[in-house]
Amino acid sequence: MEFWQIVSANICGQTVSVGFVLWMCSILLGRLPDGSSGRRKKGIFLALFLVLVWSVTAAGCYLGGVWSWKYNLGRILWEYFVLAGYILLLRVLYRLSFRSCLLSAVIIAMLSAYGELLAEVFCYGRVFDLNIPAERLQYLFWFLLISPICLLFSGLVISKSGAGKIYSQWVQREEMGNRLVILIGLYPVFNQIIQWLPVNRVELDKENLLISLAFLLVLHLIFVYVGRDWQQKQYIAAQEASLRQQTVYIEKMEQIQSELRRFRHDFRNMMAGMFLQAEEGGLTAVQSYIQEMTDDFDRQVGDQVQLMNQLANVHMVEAKGLLLEKLIGMQQKRIRVSLEVLRPVYQVPMRSTDLLRCLGILIDNAIEAVQGREEGEVCLMISSQEDCITFRIKNTLYEAIDFGKLETAGYSTKGKDRGVGLSSYRKILENYDFVFPFTAVQEGYFVQELKIQQR
């Protein structure tokens, strides 16, 4: 076979595998590349370029005998070469950190190995001599038709069986040790060495399919087992958190109840007093009594009940917990706080960890701004309308705000080592096309708003 023939066959093969890579990426990361057309366009160009480079290099390697280097060294190098391409592609399309790119790339390489092995079942034990036209035709049939179908099949199995979700955990975890990442990064080496071993020992001149299959299966089991384990742990942690929140909620309720009991006692005394006043015919005195009583009620119990009533409209467990925690914190710091949730809120189309971080940052900033000040006030509003949800956090403003520096990391009116919040807030929002932040100074208040489009 001539060079250009190999190259053109390779181009077809590589296009299929790049398609597979992109497909797996969207499963692993749970989303398509961000909408910015510039990035997608760049991604497409890069993919085409990579296909070309790979095809030419592979053809060169084949003719130059690189595949038959000792210890499968040529193939190992080749796998890393391909991995580097994947990493670059992921980086351009998804703007992930290098580490996540590496992990995703390796996992995708593993996933495509399933498909490749499956394809090899169909030509098990055969060595095609590409110089014989009939065999070349068979090879091309296998290479251009059977292999893509196998790849498609394995992709479908991965996406439908939910295995993709377990693998995606590996990519999305942040607290994974560096050593583990390196170990996973060594996968191509292990893979090739294992494929190479039996070849030499048993003196077969073909890859030992069974061993490779067993290796992949073991790897798969490990990944699934550990992934499941993580899932379980996360689930338990979430349960614990929700339990903790419920405890806090119950405590709050008990507190309100005991205040109510105390108020009942006062209330009886006041009624007795009022009764006397009424008997004497002092109408204004009775009126002021009633006023006093309602004020008292509001101060002792009403405000608390009001807050809890509003909070009850938040039906997202994690957000409710966060709000409760912040509300209690503010009350302990004697900060005047109000919360308005006019209509029930059930869900927000944002990852809940991201939403919580954003809300946490905004509320903490508001608390920090008014803490220790006279007459400081924080107002929280969550408004759920038909097509969007608005979170609005507003606090009394004491110092002029430099809008130009607001989002630079480290800017804060409170001195050094503060103010990392807003820059990471902006960074989180960069991942979402349907979230609209708004910041303003209005009527002596600093207002931060987060508007999320319902989809």
Binding site: S36, V341, D387, T390, K394
Partner: protein
């Protein structure tokens, strides 16, 4: 003359409001009149269909027996009268006023339990509205209007520093003296629409010429009047220098 509409399900409260408002209009000589005093939101909306005028609305929050509550009524009124004044009258002190103000631009809310408080509230509202109207008449300010999902924001044009594109598609960030707003738009269209007051200093930046305090040629940055910096492209250098020195 500004028409006043009252929608309140309790007849006694409604009549008390009307009587008090009429008295205030007489005493203070406001250019207003009671156009309708009703218990039915439908009747109010129907009346609005007839007359396309900016109005003043005193609305009950809980309209018993009616097809909509005060919030929904407010939304319907806003569809017909975007610049009217909404005041809510409620029996509960715990009205979600922030939400009402945010979505409906409600002016105030009054508690009807205490009649005296309600009366002072009504007088206060009329006064505020009267002042606002006369202030607006003298005002010549130009506003830049932005629609983001369910809200419309008005930013005074002379408070805008610059517009910048962001990493996301069609996303524009408005940087103002007092605000920072994200919205969907295209910088080319903005450039066309805003005309000569703004200059496209950079592919990603559209800057208000009046806000430029200086040109930092060395770092290729514009220094704005509030101290912010923003980059400019090499090709724009001469144009910017011309714009600033004129």
């Amino acid at each position: 003359m500004l028409p006043i509409y009252i929608c309140e399900d309790e007849r006694t409260v409604r009549e008390a409001e009307q009587a008090w408002l009429e008295k205030q209009i007489m005493i203070e000589g406001y250019d207003m009149e009671i156009a309708l005093c009703t218990g039915s939101p439908e009747e109010l909306l129907e009346a609005l269909e007839q007359e396309q005028k900016r109005g003043i609305y005193f609305l009950d929050v809980e309209l018993k027996g009616a097809s909509m509550d005060g919030f929904k009524l407010g939304q319907e009124i806003r569809k017909r009268d975007t610049r009217g004044f909404l005041v809510y009258v409620t029996a509960f002190r715990e009205l979600a006023f922030e939400t009402f103000r945010y979505h409906l631009e409600a002016l105030d809310y009054l508690c009807k339990q205490d009649r005296d408080q309600m009366y002072t509230g009504l007088s206060r509202c009329l006064k505020v509205i009267g002042e606002r109207i006369s202030r607006e008449q003298g005002e010549q300010q130009e506003y830049f209007t932005i629609r983001t999902l369910d809200v419309v924001r008005h930013v005074p044009v002379n408070e805008i520093l610059y517009f910048a594109t962001s990493g996301r598609t069609h996303r524009i960030e408005l940087h103002g003296l007092q605000d920072r707003v994200d919205f969907i738009g295209s910088i080319q269209e903005l450039e066309k629409k805003l005309g000569r007051r703004f200059i496209r200093a950079h592919r990603a930046f559209l800057v208000q010429t009046d806000q430029i305090a200086g040109v930092d040629l060395k770092n290729r940055e514009l220094v704005l009047k509030n101290g912010e910096h923003c980059p400019f492209s090499r090709t724009m250098r001469q144009k910017l220098l011309d714009a600033v020195t004129v």
